[in-house]
């Protein structure tokens, strides 16, 4: 082997040896980080609240009140009892914020006073029919669509604790979270509403189709199905 060839082989072997696995760096415990300041996580929304698209809250109405088709809900809400609780969806198309392509009317991007009025009209119809189904007809709790709790045993209104446990069921249904996570005054406000309506109907002496307790729960339902948290996100 010539000296030149030997030198080339030695150089090649050295180069191959240089491509071998690197030495592992042994793990080390670093110095402890010192806390210089603390701040709470900013979880605030970064843009204005928006309206849930009309199709989304309409679908939610249908799901909440029994999972029925729109025409079926219309039929039930109108009823055959001359109560005039509701007309047809078509009458409220534009005021509910839907686009109406028949007359080139665009989708409403904001709520307005008329929309708020229509929400009330619709909410009253749906809640009243739900009270008739759940509280008047008294099916088993498992078959109730909205008021999935036992009603008051006697003519007296519920006390605060009994009210709140039932209100929590409705709060979770409509606003999707427990009432204990809501602003603290909410339960008190709705309890006052429940009590006021109960007292008003008890005083009126049963002129309305609802008993005082049924009317009071209907009002609580109106308040939740029209709540700002229901329509905005």
């Amino acid at each position: 082997m010539s000296p030149l060839r030997s030198a080339a082989i030695a150089l090649g072997a050295a180069a191959i040896a240089g491509c071998g696995p690197k030495e592992l760096v042994p793990p080390q415990v670093g110095p402890k980080l010192t806390v210089t300041s603390t701040s709470t996580q900013d979880s605030a929304p970064k843009e204005e609240l928006r309206m849930v698209p009309a199709e989304a809250y309409m679908r939610t109405y249908l799901a909440l009140f029994g999972g029925l088709a729109p025409l079926e809900v219309q039929k039930r809400a109108r009823g055959g009892d001359g109560a005039q609780l509701f007309d047809t969806w078509d009458d409220y198309f534009s005021s509910l914020g839907f686009p109406d392509y028949r007359i080139d009317m665009p989708r409403s991007q904001q709520t307005n006073a008329l929309m708020v009025a229509t929400f009330e009209r619709l909410g009253v119809a749906l809640c009243d029919r739900a009270v008739e189904h759940d509280l008047k007809a008294k099916p088993p709790v498992s078959e109730r669509v909205v008021f999935a709790f036992d009603e008051a045993a006697g003519p007296a209104p519920l006390d605060r604790a009994a009210f709140e446990s039932r209100f929590d069921v409705l709060h979770r249904t409509f606003l999707a979270y427990p009432v204990k996570l809501a602003p603290t005054e909410r339960a008190a406000r709705f309890f006052k509403l429940y009590g006021d309506v109960h007292a008003r109907h008890a005083k009126a002496g049963g002129k309305a189709r609802f008993s005082p307790d049924e009317a009071a729960w209907a009002s609580v339902c109106y308040g939740l199905v029209r709540h700002p948290e229901f329509h905005l996100y």
């Binding site: 605030a44 929304p45 843009e47 204005e48 609240l49 928006r50 109560a83 005039q84 609780l85 007309d87 009458d91 409220y92 198309f93 534009s94 005021s95 109406d100 007359i103 080139d104 009317m105 409403s108 991007q109 904001q110 709520t111 307005n112 006073a113 008329l114 929309m115 708020v116 009025a117 229509t118 009330e120 009209r121 009253v124 009243d128 009270v131 602003p183 005054e185 909410r186 406000r189 709705f190 509403l193 006021d196 309506v197 008003r200 109907h201 009126a204 309305a208 189709r209 609802f210 009317a215 209907a218 009002s219 109106y222 308040g223 029209r226 709540h227 700002p228 948290e229 329509h231 905005l232």
Partner: protein
């Protein structure tokens, strides 16, 4: 300084002093905005043409049915068909036969011709006429005139703006949530939304719920980093309480309105149903519950043989406005003693654009980027026709020297002038447009 900012400052410097003076906005004014949807033929009323000239083919008996058009008087045309004679008004202005009932009040109307539209698209033309801006990405980038006026003069009114299929838009900063237009397809649907039955619950029950929700909205607003929408909902809840407390469903019931205002032509071939909107305007203004009523009158998009009745359609439109004006004349102002509603009510009528000067192969007219507008306002010069189109092509013609040079008038100029007549600085809402003092009373 950017070029646009510079031009704006020049423009503001050129505005009449009374526009910029810190004058309190007037109270007790009412507004009606009408949109002639589809694009009207201005050669039949505001900018009349009865000669074949250039590309202009006037309305004539071979394309128009003049039998029910009251002001149509035959005039000869060279090819055997008969066109119309120009209609001369008391004011000296000249109109086409579609002027209808407005001829009798021609000294009170202001007509603006030769409005440069730069569009032949329905949505864009409607938005441009109502807002002074073209659509951006299919959406209106500016508030419409009814929203602007309501924001300035109608915030405290129960219904700042009721918009019946008008191209209303609520866009931009500095707008009060209360002035979001109450947009409906027909006026009767408002009464349905306000109807309540007493069989299950009482007014007091529902009112307490609404008061609670108003409180909830305000409380959530006080906790929110972005409270405006929630505050707006709170205000709207309060508006609802006032609306329901005032028992207004009659003001919105189509049947009740027809009975209360029989002067309108509810059996009209074209606008019979829409006449209820005009009746609503009179009724709601008389009750002082609304500030602006805006509505659309349809049927103007006459591309084919439906053009034969376009003159009748215009006549019925102008008749409706004339009856509306007469109704305002006959109605006392709800708050200003000794005044009529007409003294403080302002009507603006616009359309998407006008129709081609040529008759197409189907016997109709297509879209054309010129336009006219009508204003009936005690603050505008009556009996005035301002602006012009060229004699051979009906395109907008230069009318005066604006701050950006000599040019035709355009919708932003008209809207800016309208706003300025109420001491509102148009720049607060509008990017473009220059006040045209020639349109305003001294």
């Amino acid at each position: 300084m950017q070029r646009r900012t510079f031009l704006k400052s020049l423009l503001l410097a050129g505005m009449p002093m009374r526009v910029l003076a810190d004058t309190a906005a007037p109270a007790g004014e009412f507004f009606v905005f009408i949109h002639a949807a589809g694009g009207w033929d201005v050669t039949l009323w505001a900018d009349p043409r009865n000669e074949k000239k250039g590309i202009i083919h006037p309305a004539a008996t071979d394309n128009t049915d003049p039998s029910q058009v009251r002001h149509w008087v035959d005039a000869p045309m060279e090819d055997g068909a008969r066109t119309f004679q120009l209609v001369k008004a008391r004011s000296g202005a000249v109109f086409g036969p579609g002027i209808g009932g407005l001829l009798d009040v021609s000294d009170r109307i202001t007509v603006v011709n030769g409005l440069a539209m730069n569009t032949v698209s329905h949505p864009d033309g409607s938005a441009f006429s109502a807002t002074g801006r073209h659509l951006v990405g299919g959406r209106s980038p500016a508030p419409s005139i009814d929203t602007m006026v309501a924001n300035e003069l109608g915030r405290e009114q129960m219904f700042p703006t009721v918009s019946v299929a008008f191209p209303s838009s609520y866009v931009g900063d500095g707008l009060d949530r209360r002035v979001v237009p109450l947009t409906v397809g027909q006026i009767g649907s408002v009464s349905r939304s306000l109807a309540r039955t007493e069989l299950y619950d009482a007014d007091a029950d529902r009112d307490e719920v609404t008061a609670l929700l108003s409180q909830e909205a305000n409380d959530l607003a006080s906790r929110s980093a972005y409270p405006d929408v929630l505050r707006g909902v709170g205000l709207q809840m309060e508006s609802l309480r006032r609306m329901l407390g005032s028992k207004l469903s009659d003001a919105f019931s189509a049947d009740a309105l027809r009975k209360a205002h029989p002067q309108f032509n509810y059996k009209g071939r074209f606008h019979g149903a829409s006449s209820v909107n005009a009746a609503f305007a009179v009724d709601a203004m008389k009750r002082n519950v609304v500030r602006c009523v805006s509505f659309s009158l349809g049927g103007f998009d006459t591309h084919n043989t439906n053009y034969r009745t376009h003159a009748q359609l215009l006549q019925e439109t102008m008749d409706l406005v004339a009856i509306l004006l007469k109704s305002f004349d006959d109605t006392p102002h709800p708050t200003l003693v000794g005044k009529k509603l007409a003294d403080h009510t302002h009507i603006v009528m616009v359309s998407d654009f006008c129709r081609t000067p040529q008759i197409n192969q189907q016997g109709g007219r297509d879209h054309y980027p010129n336009n006219s507008a009508l204003v009936v306002s005690p603050r505008f010069k009556g009996g005035l026709v301002f602006g012009k189109s060229d004699p051979e092509q009906l395109l907008p013609a230069k009318v005066k020297k604006f701050i950006d040079g000599e040019r035709a008038i355009a919708p932003p100029d008209l809207l800016a002038t309208f706003l300025s007549s109420f001491h509102v600085n148009p720049r607060k809402y509008m990017r473009d447009g220059e006040v045209v003092p020639e349109l305003l009373k001294a």
